[in-house]
């Protein structure tokens, strides 16, 4: 952050609008503001903290009285006075204008009443125009310089050590860490942990994968299927063996029986059986075919009768078939002669009579369609009859063949019975064997059916399992991804924790070293500043080889505090340039100091004066005439870019006037007020323009 200018209006000692106090930066980075006690040095310091944070330093007396006394007493009761302070600053190459304002008035009882304090901000776009910001002004200010840290940059030099009073010490560590971006790391770690927890929950919700169990089940079923296939194969083999055996046995039986007649009869019966069975199969197929191709015709009865009714109505109305065609009427009119011989001239009564028939006459297309439809319907009705006839015939055939088949079977059975009870033992045995074989064949066929059913069940189960397995595979992929995400998050957490640890330890050590360097450059004591893990700073003495705490003087403590602030500015600047991930924007810091040389003796005043322009990037120093002594002036003169005088107008008639000499020119510090009011005027010390 670079401060560009500050302007006040009716703010404490400052009556009306002050000129814009331009603040120096760059090589001559110091702005010096001179003023005697009560002239408004502390007011200017507090104007900065009020604008930015609505805060005041401890030395700012009666903070509730912000408005300039003269301004409020000059207006009528009930009329409000505007009281404001505004600064322009630059941050990350963007210029911000920030103004805090309130309206003040005197009420009926002559009491001063303050209206709401409002904060305004605008920023300069690249086009040079001012725009209101998208975010809350407070939010932007806090991003530029966190409120918790303002006291390190805007402070009362006489009480600088108050910043480090023990009750506030613990916040120093926190505040500094915030400046380093540790809070960002902490929040990132915290939120990543929460994200990890959510990811873990999501993984748990996915549940355990059943894929192994399902694969085992599938394997088992597949094995079972293979086994049934084998059994089926075995059965087929057995069956063909049995059939072969049956054939041989039947042959043997017939040969052994010696009766050619019986043999022929059996063959005949067997052929008949075959034919009948064939007939039965074929006829059943034929019925199925008839049903599927002509079956619909029997469902059309209702539609057909509706059609007939329609036609009937048309006929009754004389529209079908039309006795006279439209075309015929047209021809008569064209010819201008009726079939009765009468002349048909346009406009005559006869003409009109004949013409009126035209509408009554039927349209040829409708008639044709009706005729075609009617013949189709008749055809369909005929088909219904045919359908029933065919089905009836087939059914009766089936019945007949079944009867015949049963007769043939009985006759065949009779023959078998004859063999079964034949006196010849061989014949008997052969038939018995044949019966057994036939029984076995039946059993095998039955068994085949069972196997087929089993296989169907197994195939279905395998199908279901495969579907489940593919679902589980998707689940496993999801699980792997969730696990991968958890691992990456954990890795990110651990790395950020490590970075945080390094920031804390390395920054503190780096800061301690820098503070020691600054302290050494200012102090003539052999004391060494030490910073503990809570960022508590103290001085130790090490001359005996053992570090012993030192009871430091106010002056030493002041230098120590200044060194600490200087160290923080330097190290934070260094860190913000080095860290590229957190991306802090804290590379430039201003320092606004009120009376920084208050309780220091000559040597320290010189050292401090020498050190501070180098510690901060931009320095604004508010001093009294006594603080601005030879050694301070000598050391700081070369850094001063802008210089102002706060001229105090005293209403006291016999007040002692005072002045200051800068570069050979005398400037007033205290003058008698010409109007009876106490106020301060700001005048700029003229500088020679360097080319």
């Amino acid at each position: 952050m670079k401060l560009i200018s500050i302007k006040l209006c009716n703010f404490r000692q400052f009556y009306g609008k002050t000129p814009e106090i331009i603040l120096s930066s760059g090589q001559k980075n110091t702005t010096m503001i001179h003023g005697n006690n009560g002239a408004g040095k502390t007011t200017i310091l507090n104007a900065f903290t009020w604008i930015l944070y609505q805060q005041f330093t401890a030395a700012f007396a009666s903070p509730e009285l912000l408005v300039n006394k003269r301004a409020i007493s000059e207006v009528n009761i009930g009329t409000s006075v505007e009281c404001y302070a505004e600064i322009i600053l630059e941050h990350e190459n963007k210029r911000y204008q920030i103004k805090r304002r309130c309206f003040v008035y005197r009420d009926q009882d002559n009491k001063i009443q303050y209206g709401q304090i409002q904060l305004f901000m605008s920023f300069a776009g690249d086009d040079g125009c001012w725009y209101p910001p998208m975010q809350q002004p407070e939010e932007i200010i806090n991003r530029i310089l966190p409120e918790s840290l303002y006291q390190y940059f805007f402070f009362d030099g006489e009480h600088i050590e108050h910043i480090f009073r023990s009750s506030e010490k613990n916040t120093i560590a926190e505040d500094t860490k915030e400046l380093l971006g540790v809070k960002i790391l902490d929040r990132a770690i915290e939120h990543l942990k929460k994200a990890k927890k959510t990811l873990q929950d999501e993984l748990n919700e996915l549940g355990e994968s059943d894929i192994k169990k399902l694969l085992t089940q599938k394997n088992k079923l597949e094995q079972e299927h293979t086994k049934t296939n084998q059994t089926k194969e075995n059965h087929l083999q057995k069956l063909s063996q049995y059939e072969e055996l049956k054939k041989i046995l039947t042959q043997q039986l017939l040969e052994l029986s010696g009766a050619e007649e019986l043999k022929q009869l059996k063959e005949k019966l067997e052929n008949q059986e075959k034919t009948l069975r064939n007939n039965l199969v074929n006829t059943k197929q034929k019925i199925k075919k008839t049903l599927s191709s002509k079956g619909y015709t029997i469902l059309l009865t209702e539609v057909n009768s509706e059609f007939y009714q329609l036609i009937e109505e048309l006929r009754n109305r004389g529209e079908l078939p039309s006795g006279i065609k439209q075309k015929f009427i047209e021809q008569l009119l064209d010819r201008q002669q009726c079939i009765c011989g009468n002349q048909l001239h346009e406009g005559t009564e006869q003409y009109l009579q004949v013409q009126s028939w035209k509408n009554k006459a039927g349209i040829a297309d409708v008639e044709e369609a009706a005729i075609r439809l009617e013949s189709n319907v008749i055809e369909l009705e005929k088909q219904v009859e045919d359908f029933w006839n065919n089905i009836d015939t087939d059914q009766s055939n089936i019945q007949q063949w079944r009867l015949e088949l049963s007769q043939v079977e009985t006759e065949l059975d009779n023959i078998k019975n004859k063999f079964r009870h034949a006196p010849d033992e061989d014949l008997k045995n052969l038939q018995k064997r044949l019966d057994e074989i036939e029984e076995s064949i039946r059993e095998v066929i039955l068994e085949q059916g069972v196997i087929k059913q089993q296989q169907e069940i197994i195939t279905k189960e395998i199908d279901t399992l495969e579907k489940q397995i593919s679902k589980q595979k998707i689940k496993e992929e999801k699980q792997a991804l969730a696990q991968k995400r958890i691992n990456s998050t954990q890795d990110a957490i651990e790395r950020l924790q490590e970075v945080r640890k390094r920031v804390e330890s390395q920054f503190r050590l780096s800061l301690e070293k820098r503070v020691q360097d600054i302290f050494n450059s200012i102090s003539f004591t052999p004391y060494i500043p030490r910073i503990n893990s809570d960022y508590e700073i103290r001085l130790v003495e090490n001359t005996s080889g053992v570090a012993v705490p030192v009871a430091a003087s106010t002056g030493e403590n002041q230098i120590l505090s200044l060194s600490f602030i200087g160290g923080i500015i330097d190290r934070v600047r260094d860190w913000s340039q080095k860290n590229t991930f957190i991306g802090l924007d804290s590379s430039t810091f201003p320092m606004v100091m009120d009376s920084p040389f208050g309780s220091l003796d000559e040597i320290y005043r010189r050292q401090v004066a020498k050190a501070i322009p180098q510690i901060a990037n931009q320095l604004i120093v508010l001093v009294t005439k006594t603080q601005w002594r030879g050694e301070v002036e000598t050391e700081m003169r070369k850094y001063i870019g802008k210089e102002y005088i706060l001229v105090y107008h005293s209403p006291k008639p016999d007040c002692e006037e005072d002045s200051i000499n800068i570069d050979g020119i005398t400037y007033p510090l205290v003058v008698r007020s010409s109007n009876g009011y106490e106020y301060t005027e700001i005048i700029e010390v003229e500088k020679e323009i360097e080319f």
Binding site: K484, D491, L496, V499, Q506, F507, E512, W575, I582
Partner: protein, 67 residues
């Protein structure tokens, strides 16, 4: 996993600020991307006491990067 543990022993404490970011620069591209994006998000919402939806936003970052 376990990265920090293995590196703790070798980490030397010094006053140099150069190697502070090393745990991030040595991360795998995915983890580095997560860290970068989450830090940016946190920085943007640092001054909100309770940033709205930040947990969802962090989760989205992870899910979009690790696919």
């Amino acid at each position: 996993m376990g990265w920090a543990k293995s590196h703790l022993k070798t980490m030397s404490i010094d006053t140099n600020l150069d190697n502070i970011q090393e745990p991030i620069t040595t991360a795998s591209p995915e983890v580095r991307q997560i860290i970068e994006q989450v830090l940016k998000l946190e920085k943007d919402k640092l001054y909100l006491k309770a940033p709205r939806n930040i947990n969802d936003d962090v989760l989205t970052i992870i899910k979009e990067i690790v696919t």
